[in-house]
Symmetry: C2
């Protein structure tokens, strides 16, 4: 699992401060999460192949998280995209985007499929054989979701010695990797557990931005391999974090600790702070394993 | 008169290829013309003071000319702007922008005043004592206006020798600069032409993007000091220019020649060309005085 930070600053774009957007790569699929203004140039900087983007998840309708979406959708058209594009975002996003495309007197040649979200409960919104994506209801000024990316049902590894010993036909490989027992030529069931070894451990990643401090999300993100939790402010601006329904670095770390995640990624920094190291220093008082998101940084999980 | 090119490429933003946007500075006023995605960062790069931007002119509703507007409007809010902002653009722009601001659950603290345009005739849409801005109806795939910026009624210079000779009270200076005759203490009329010299020659600048080759605009831009005319393509792609209702560099130069403008500024380049010098080479076959727009270039007129 690989996370490429396209942008990790809040509110307004500045030179060298890109707005929220990340590319999550899991099991050869890539997912774009949030799409602030400037995201498409950020994707180019990070050499993300546009045609690989098939699913875009928008957390909420504050501009710094989605004003780059309509431009990206238009660029896909200009590049003669034909593949379906799925957009998951708050109820209302479809009309906002479509009205802008209509006003331009054009239309996408590809299918643009909106999955509008309005539930306040966690939902499974995307799944393949190996990946599941759930919403994480967040508490912000407007309707907002985080997203939980989970690897599931990863294939088992074959135990070649056992396969040879039991003289199992190699045609059964996929069934074995999927966990099925098999029946040999003599009609005897051979347990899957004899013929396979543990596969890769499935990873999980939770993206939580924007949100105030909210312990109710812990149940969704428990034991995640990595948690991106917004830390717009430091504790010295905790009043501001309350009125704007954002979090401080310390609060993000408290959520990481309560959730027993393995790694905390901080981001969505207010640009009032000259140096983002202060976020890590503050969060370290609560939680040890911290990475600071930075524009164009790749984080392997 | 000073033009700062924020961006001058067409269609989609790329690394080092900003989308259409210019800052026109006239008589201490600044005007933003078009506002593609990324414009606000481009304005910062060019150290344009955001609070000086009071009037924004949008040529048409193709995304590369206005997708940066809603973000800029939001940024003005975040910067606690209080001064009025006037936006001049095609009918429909107000709803598109306002719906996005509404969806964010916020509102501007400043007055956001839309002047929606729908006429197919040239209109005076802005004026002060010294500046007039007219629309230039353009022929593109959707409703589009160019904009003509004119200095008008520039003050005359005082002829100090004559003023002393005729013993004119200095209190009359402003009246004299405005062209009025005066009456001296003996009741004698002294002609303005005796007491003043010619002032600065008023300049004019026409922004014409996007448009197909269209000689009907010549009457609006005749004798301009500078004409920005789009040159999306070269003649070798003239078929494409016809179907997309854009112009070639040669066509832009023909319009410059027919209009007897002093300077032609080329821009809105398709990014299919590796080197923009080719646009100048092609246009030079028709017109001599050419400047290539480049991102972050300042052109003094």
């Amino acid at each position: 699992m690989k996370i490429t930070i396209i942008g990790c600053y809040s509110a307004m774009p500045k030179i060298g401060n890109n707005l929220s957007s990340q590319v999550i790569e899991i099991q050869n699929e890539i997912f774009l999460v949030d799409c602030g203004e400037g995201t498409q140039v950020g994707l180019r900087k990070n050499k993300i192949n546009f045609s690989r983007i098939k699913h875009i998840f928008i957390s909420h309708l504050h501009g710094d998280h989605y004003f780059g979406l309509v431009g990206l959708i238009s660029t896909f058209s200009l590049l003669n995209r034909l593949a379906d594009l799925h957009v998951y975002g708050p109820l209302g996003i479809k009309e906002l985007i479509i009205n802008q495309i209509k006003a331009s007197g054009s239309w996408t040649k590809y299918n643009l499929i909106f999955h509008e979200l309005s539930s306040n409960k966690s939902e499974l919104i995307f799944s393949t054989d190996f990946i599941e994506v759930f919403t994480i209801p967040l508490s912000h000024r407007i309707y907002t979701n985080g997203f939980l990316f989970k690897e599931v049902n990863l294939p088992l590894n074959l135990n070649i010695d056992a396969i040879e010993k039991y003289n199992v036909n190699i045609a059964y490989s996929n069934k074995l990797k999927q966990g099925f027992d098999i029946v040999n030529e003599k009609g005897v069931v051979i347990k899957n557990s004899i013929l396979t070894r543990a596969g890769k451990v499935p990873k999980s990643y939770a993206y939580c931005s924007d949100t105030e401090y909210d312990e109710s999300i812990v149940k969704y993100i428990n034991n995640c391999d990595a948690l991106y939790h917004e830390s717009t402010f430091l504790e010295k601006h905790i009043k501001l974090s309350k009125t704007t329904k954002h979090s401080t670095a310390k609060q993000a770390a408290k959520i990481a600790k309560l959730s027993n995640v393995k790694l905390l990624i901080l981001g969505h920094y207010s640009s009032r702070y000259d140096n983002i190291d202060v976020f890590k220093i503050e969060a370290k008082t609560e939680f040890e394993n911290i990475v600071l998101a930075e524009d164009n940084k790749i984080i392997e999980i």
